[in-house]
């Protein structure tokens, strides 16, 4: 009796005998090593995986659900060793062989630039562009913006400013330099994702699919449990005890932070638009960006202690007094006020934001319809 390992190959689950798994792992690892210098490495690897998956599928039937080690070995022999391109081009004209390689290196070393990316964007593509620039998941960046908005109220404004200042990536070259990936590879990633999700949708074997999701849930639960334990230990350490009355200052502090933020934003806008701060013209030898940076640092110095104080107020949360609900209500009102002021500022200064709000319902409707037709079709 042999252990069985479930693997994901080209978006489908396969069960392999233990020994077969090792063979496959070795094959794919050595393939990856051989293709190290190949610019299309990931694409070739995913093609290879898909081809192996297809051969496995041909071996399996309703009465057979596990690929045994010997079959894996046969399939891998059929596939043959991965030929690195250098070997293949040695026989060809050396000058020609150097051409595409050099071009690939050139596009790979192209400097990245920050662009807005409209494909797959929620609003103006700012988060998408940042994510591509830093090679992150766009959802994480969006989450960061939302958190920034909730806790400091600045996310919306930063977004609006970036939506206006950062250029949009229109040509393929611009899109490429937004992420530093050559356009062909980007296209591949898009296609591969589309193919992958289709494959998940048409998951052929309901039993395997159930097993797959059960395993996923189990792992996720274990992970979440571990995470909670870890953080509970951190949070419930011996915390200093604060006077609960400290908490009453929370709305006041929030109001101060809000006023400072709005002041900073107004000053920044006036600096960028007219080159003056509070009616003061900049000295000739101070560039605008430096002034903006100084403004930001000043804002940070002003707001930093206020934020620390707010943090202490939250810490006294441990002993809820009778007035806490009122305090929290006030706090929420203060933040609503700040957000309203920020939005008002945005509306006043940026016609693009007004337009964006107008087209938002239509966009949401369109997205909903697209998802529905995709799911049905």
């Amino acid at each position: 009796m042999n252990k069985v390992i479930t693997i994901n190959l080209g978006g489908n689950a396969y069960q392999l005998e233990d020994g077969g798994y090792d063979l496959l792992r070795n094959y794919l690892d050595s393939a990856a090593a051989r293709l190290q210098a190949n610019p299309d490495r990931d694409e070739i690897l995913s093609d290879i995986e898909a081809a192996i998956a297809e051969k496995f599928r041909a071996l399996l039937g309703s009465h057979k659900s596990v690929v045994v080690a010997k079959e894996v070995a046969t399939v891998l022999t059929e596939m043959g060793p991965i030929e690195a391109e250098a070997e293949a081009s040695q026989t060809g004209a050396p000058k020609e062989a150097a051409g595409p390689g050099a071009a690939g290196a050139e596009s790979a070393s192209k400097p990245r630039r920050l662009y807005r990316i409209n494909e797959g964007a929620m609003l103006a593509g700012v988060c998408n562009g940042i994510a591509a620039y830093f090679n992150l998941d766009p959802t994480l960046v969006r989450l960061a913006f939302v958190l920034l908005t909730i806790f400091w109220g600045t996310g919306v404004l930063v977004y609006v400013i970036m939506a206006i200042v950062v250029p949009e990536a229109c040509s393929p070259e611009e899109k490429a330099s937004a992420s530093g990936i050559p356009p062909t590879a980007q296209e591949f990633i898009r296609r591969a994702k589309a193919g992958y999700y289709e494959a998940v949708k048409n998951f052929p074997d309901p039993k395997a699919s159930r097993e797959w999701s059960r395993r996923f849930r189990r792992e996720w639960r274990a992970y979440a449990c571990q995470w909670r334990h870890h953080w509970r230990d951190k949070w419930t350490g011996p915390a200093p005890v604060y006077d609960p009355r400290l908490g009453y200052w929370l709305p006041v502090l929030s109001l101060l932070v809000g006023i400072a933020t709005v002041g900073w934003i107004c000053a920044s806008i006036s600096l960028l638009a007219t080159g003056t701060v509070c009616g003061q013209t900049l000295p000739d030898n101070v560039p605008v960006w430096l002034a903006a940076l100084l403004l930001f640092i000043t804002y940070g110095i002003l707001v930093g202690p206020l934020k620390v104080a707010r943090h202490l107020c939250y810490k006294s949360w441990g002993q809820p007094g009778p007035i806490w609900p009122v305090v929290l209500l006030l706090e929420a009102l203060v933040w609503l006020l700040i957000v309203a002021v920020l939005l008002g500022l945005g509306f006043h200064y940026f016609p693009a934001l007004r337009e964006a709000i107008h087209v938002l319902p239509a966009m949401a409707h369109q997205a909903f319809e697209d998802i529905r037709s995709w799911w049905k079709g």
């Binding site: 299309d40 093609d47 081809a51 297809e54």
Partner: protein
């Protein structure tokens, strides 16, 4: 060293030409290409073909599209670009010239 071994480098170089010819006839996916080659002296394997196809695509000789298959996930179907067809035409011409040369040389 027998003839078969002596020609292995030449076969390797010609593979790209043959792949162009196969794809020129109709849209195919990798298993089709392998099947057509398997009956010839140019029989090859996925391990060789995938890197070759990706290189040819990078040189813009061919392109692919995803197509649904009856069983399993979608497949990549390859087709020639205009540049690929031009390359094929040139190569065919050159190949004929080589053939002529081989036939003519050494003849009285």
């Amino acid at each position: 060293m027998n003839v078969n071994e002596k020609f292995s480098a030449i076969r390797k170089g010609l593979l790209e030409f043959l792949v162009l010819q196969i794809i020129a006839a109709e849209k195919v996916y990798v298993a089709d290409i392998l099947k057509q080659l398997s009956a010839t002296q140019f029989a090859t394997q996925e391990g060789t073909l995938y890197p070759l196809l990706s290189k040819m695509r990078r040189e813009e000789l061919l392109d692919y599209e995803w197509k649904e298959s009856e069983a399993g996930p979608p497949r990549k179907y390859y087709k020639l670009t205009a540049k690929g067809r031009e390359q094929l035409r040139e190569t065919l011409e050159y190949w004929n010239e080589i053939n002529e040369t081989v036939k003519k040389l050494g003849q009285p």
